[in-house]
Symmetry: C2
Subunit: 394 residues, 2 copies
Amino acid sequence: MKPLIAATPEEFREKRGIDARVLHEVLEVDLKARRVLVRRLDDSTEFREAFDCLVIATGAVPIVPNVPGADAGGIYNLSSLETGLTVRKAVDEEKPETAVIVGGGYIGLEMAEALVMRGLKVSLVERADQVMGTLDPDMGELVSRALIKIGVSLYRGESLTGFETDSGKVRAVVTDKRTIPADIVIMGLGVRPNSALAEKAGVPLGVRGSIKVNERMQTAVEAVWAAGDCVESFHHVSRRPVNIALGTHANKQGRVAGINIGGGYATFPGVVGTAASKICALEVARTGLQEREIKELGLEYVAGKIESSTRAWYYPNAGRITVKILAEKGCGRLLGGQIVGIEGAAKRIDVIAASLHAGFTVQDMINLDLSYAPPFSPVWDPVLIAARKALEMI
Amino acid sequence: MKPLIAATPEEFREKRGIDARVLHEVLEVDLKARRVLVRRLDDSTEFREAFDCLVIATGAVPIVPNVPGADAGGIYNLSSLETGLTVRKAVDEEKPETAVIVGGGYIGLEMAEALVMRGLKVSLVERADQVMGTLDPDMGELVSRALIKIGVSLYRGESLTGFETDSGKVRAVVTDKRTIPADIVIMGLGVRPNSALAEKAGVPLGVRGSIKVNERMQTAVEAVWAAGDCVESFHHVSRRPVNIALGTHANKQGRVAGINIGGGYATFPGVVGTAASKICALEVARTGLQEREIKELGLEYVAGKIESSTRAWYYPNAGRITVKILAEKGCGRLLGGQIVGIEGAAKRIDVIAASLHAGFTVQDMINLDLSYAPPFSPVWDPVLIAARKALEMI
């Protein structure tokens, strides 16, 4: 049995200097015959290959809007290292002066920062009223302010309606409220599971069109496994299936699938929704459920939000950190946490994530024996201060 | 009822610019009569004061060795902000050229760094074979190397036998192996609970002479409470009483005592042995039990030790982090963790501490949904890689 990768071709190319060019593309999976139809990418010849066991790790694909001019030159979707290199080359060679980012998620924000640092005039268009939609609005506002501070023109609550083009090249981004000149456009509208191949083959899908798997990464079809951005995961806090495209989950799931396929035993029990990002000097992190998600589940909650210091107040380079802890009303069960602050802020989300895995209440949290020394934290870690604040409100 | 503080006088003075001079010292507690004998520090007059409720928060006192010359000038015990200011003044005014630190705990190491930075020739004497005795020897070795690298002359496995003095001023530190010239000596032999007042009054003591308290910070004597470095705590991992002198515990315990005395309800369930320190560019952290402590409990364990990177390997300022995870043989229960690394390393101990509170196994740990982004971590957080390593050895 030869190993075959059912992935988008560019995914593995040039990563870490390893020649991982994908030479084959899987066009079709025949589950009954246990065969795949494969196309060689160098000469486009096709052949069939039998399998004993199939792993679908097709990842995610960028969401592309169906608006006029979307296929013009100068509009880039970021989905792989390769597309990142393409954008860098375009900036180096074509020397664009204005850039518009469409989408205020972490890819959009990180690109905004990168292009500001390259000297471009950067605008960002976001359909929602806030950037970083995985944060609550009050925490997202802190990120918006940081973007504006570095010179990004921020257009929130505006929808993309199309692009103005000139000779097949983008000239401006058009929203429902204005037209913004653009030499280069970065699309950051998020991704969706790349499950077309699985669906076509008859592998059952779940939430958001992701592939349904059990904790061992088996699909509903015998001998067919799946892992990564294309699969469904269990969310420990909402207790619902979710599809979250993150390298951490993909990597863990790949390990679990591999162990099981190799005859071992491993499970991937689920996620708690942790994510982190850095925008300029600002570190941003979140885990668990945000207010909107809690409301959707019909739960009631309290929010403990505090401002504190990343280090002891008198220690060099101490700076502001805002921590928000969400806990269930009555029982005090921890539901989520969000952090925005300077260097040293984001990684504190991990202790909230571990607390979610543990099923802690905010009462449990305030007793946590977290580390303290002036270079690292105030005596009460900001996470614990926020938990105390939430506890007072239960 | 007037509030009275039974604490060493220097403890609260000049902290944070607040005039918190302690004006009274409690000389004696009469538990039957519910009265304390108090001395005014300004005029040495004494008086008795009745109490309804007494809080003993006498902290800890530095361990002072009983060796010849120990009372000479130029030998400093560090136990409060005030003593720190005294040392700084001595360095500024007397311009010592050579310093000897006695004791390789975190106070000793932080002082070694501070004095090297002030341009002194610094030697450090430690009775044990390693500095940072709260780490396992292999992890302590990483700290020793960092000290040697910044120019500290390190004498491990040597015991202090006395001091050479000249006109009442220290001239050299004498060990069982050599004599080391010293213009200034810093004693960092640790602290012991300051429980003399409580003991004399008949309040029952526990481990290491610390005051026995229940989870609400009540001593065994009615209406007498205690909190801070002078009390006993429950260790969640060893399930034994311990006395650990740290501001984090003292602060939490003070809050709990205060709430209970005020008619509320709060508990301090215990500690897991977390501590962190920074020596030069090196961050050091530990939690739970170290190998020696595990062996003393008669338990068997595996140690997963790995080297990884504080950030994604390609990200600016990424650097080495060593993580060691100790887990119980067979069941895989997490027993402890130790971290040594550059900036960004130490605070990762908190996720291990939270995992200890949760009673996680290393199997539980490897499923933790910890944050990832290139500025913060490799895709697998180093803590999880170490847990995986331990899991393989169970």
